[in-house]
Amino acid sequence: MDVFLQTLVAGILKGGLYGLIGMGMSLIMGVMGIINLAHGQLMMVAMYITFVCFTYLGLDPYAALLITMPALFLLGALIQRYALNPLMEVESLLPENQVLMTVGIGMVLTEIARFIFSSDYKSVQTAYSSSSFFLGGISFSVALTAAFFIALLFTGFMFWFLLKTDLGRAIRATAQDKDAALLMGVDAKRITILTFGIGSALVAAAGTLLMPIYYLFPDIGSPFTRKAFVITILGGLGSTVGAIFGGLTLGLAEAFGATYIGMAFDDMIGLLIFILVLLFLPSGFKRLTKI
């Protein structure tokens, strides 16, 4: 029973973080209709900023959230404004070109990180990095639990933002029907820039929260891009609540797979669920949650 409960806890906690990673990609995918294949690399940038803040300024990763999120918002907005939007204006280019552009951006970010920080593994060792507390024999990692609740907080906030604010409504309108949104006076270009910024800030939060428990090197981005992609499809494009459910599903599937099938099949289990969802629930959990 302990094994079962510990696995459940591990899966849920990791799932919360996955949800945060997926949410940003999901938003971008919903509004722009493109897959941001530099998503994990943006997270990597946020992680390096966290690392620098911690190592050179002595700033705790949770405080660093206040730096990484605005910084990545800016970076994301600039990428959208100067690298992706110009591609949209060229009639002869396919939308796929934007996807290719994100791949390129991802590579450039990785190599810049390698140039500055070399390929060395870096990590942030805080007092709570490997501390845990026990509830009835089940161990909870302090950092992962904190990350889980902060992730929930962000999801709640995004949910409110998208439903209740004008800007949020404009984003949803652009996602649902861009032309109609344009006719209603929504500045679609501004919305895309904002969305990319918000998406990047969300993944920055995930990266910063991951930093105390994980480690960092320039090539860390691509496995997380892949995970974000799976979560986005699980959750349904553009759905914040769906992304959290997608993240939890992936986290739980990986944890239970690791315990009861074998940890060597980590990726296989995640991708198997991915295929099953595509086959039987093509629009993801969004179809169940509607948002």
Binding site: G11, K14, A255, A258, T259, M263, D266
Partner: protein, 403 residues
């Protein structure tokens, strides 16, 4: 039409010129022409860190050799190709070294899976390959006459552990965790068989995919089995996470032992922090080994690059010297000549004595003793065998909650 013909002529002219420049005009192989040595290493990708350490060590050694007059007056030229840590890229990298650069001999080869893929090319193209890190047993079990290996195979990593278990620590049950590529699979399989010979009961043996965020599902299973000894074959960052999460779960076997690779590196200690304390590891080399030049190499590396080196670097450094030694003795500067000279190698390096012998299923394999080290207050102490020990081993492992 005329314009096109002109372009074609111009183009051909360029080609001829380029070919001439690349090949050097015939009959001019001056005595100072460098001797080309190919090296395949992962310089990007997640294994880049070790590729870099090995690359730097190769470069230090080559610099020293060239400064001391090279190979009978001719300098050694290293051509280093990036394998990115992927077997298919490794294959094309070595193909390129052999066909385009026409190297005499190939060195390097970091991860077992990439090395395994590249040695097959070397054998097929009849160019000698001195493996210095790839440690899966099967690499030297094929009877391939062009493949030599400097480092012990992964099955021999725990040699020192065996004598330690026999004389000092009495354990009965074992759990084996390994990363799931050729290196971990090969090492864990061999270790499991050795456990049987030793009369140890293997309670579980499980692989994991390197780079995982959360090892708790795996560790909680280990905890449920409650083994005396946990043996892990891991790359460095997985090793650090495994130990940190073992601490979080309060997993207390009598011994935590790492099977080489990740557990001996400074990064392991930096990332695992206090969770690294008292962890044992098998290792092939430490700066305190009783071989001439070992300490000097360590200091020189630290001086030059500002970061410490470790056993992978020592392997690369020694490999460069073995290659240079073979080149000096080679009857002809052809792959075949170098191969024959390599087979006759009998020398001392910072990594230990090197002589390629055949034993068991292995051919052209160097045989070396291994060491058991333990982390103690953030420092790596050699604890076994007794003759070279720098500290007494702490055994059994103090419980996490009683520290």
């Amino acid at each position: 039409m005329k314009g096109m013909k002109g372009t074609a002529t111009w183009f051909m002219g360029c080609l001829v010129l380029a070919a001439w420049l690349i090949a050097g005009y015939p009959g001019q192989a001056a005595a100072a022409d460098p001797l080309k040595v190919g090296v395949v290493l992962p310089l990007t990708g997640k294994l880049a860190k070790f590729g870099e350490i090995e690359q730097k060590s190769f470069l230090i050694a080559a610099e020293e050799i060239n400064a001391a007059g090279g190979i009978n007056g001719r300098p050694v030229q290293l051509i280093i190709e990036d394998t990115t840590g992927k077997p298919d890229v490794g294959r094309s990298a070595i193909e390129k070294l052999i066909s385009k650069d026409q190297v005499l001999v190939v060195g390097g080869g970091y991860s077992s899976s990439v090395t395994w893929a590249s040695v097959a090319v070397a054998q097929q193209r009849k160019v000698p390959f001195l493996v210095n890190t790839g440690s899966a047993d099967n690499i030297t079990e094929q009877g391939w006459e062009y493949i030599f290996r400097l480092n012990p195979p992964v099955s021999e990593y725990p040699q020192a552990l065996h004598s330690f278990l026999k004389e000092k620590a009495q354990v009965k049950t074992v759990a084996i965790l390994h990363e799931n590529t050729l290196f971990g699979q090969s090492g864990s399989k061999e270790f499991m068989e050795q456990c049987k010979d030793f009369g140890l009961e293997v309670l579980m043996k499980e692989g994991y995919e390197a780079g995982a965020v959360d090892f708790k599902p795996l560790l909680v299973k280990v905890k449920a089995q409650d083994p005396d000894l946990v043996y892990m074959i891991s790359y460095v960052m997985d090793a650090a996470l495994l130990m940190r999460q073992a601490k979080e779960l309060n997993l207390n076997p009598r011994l935590f032992v790492g099977g080489g690779a990740g557990f001996t590196l400074p990064e392991f200690q930096a990332n695992a922090g206090e969770a690294s304390e008292f962890v044992f590891s098998a290792t092939l080399w430490t700066p305190s080994v009783p071989y001439p030049g070992a300490r000097e190499y360590y200091e020189k590396f630290l001086d030059k690059y500002g970061t410490p080196t470790e056993y992978h670097g020592a392997e690369a450094y020694a490999a460069m010297y073995v290659i240079a030694d073979a080149l000096k003795r080679a009857a002809t500067f052809t792959p075949e000549g170098v191969r024959a000279a390599l087979a006759e190698t009998d020398m001392m390096t910072v990594f230990g004595p090197v002589k390629f012998i055949s034993y068991g299923k292995m051919t052209q394999q160097n045989k070396l003793p291994t060491f058991l080290v333990q982390w103690s207050q953030g420092k790596l102490e050699t604890v076994w065998p007794k003759e070279v020990a720098t500290a007494e081993p702490v055994y059994p492992f103090p419980r996490w909650d009683k520290r």
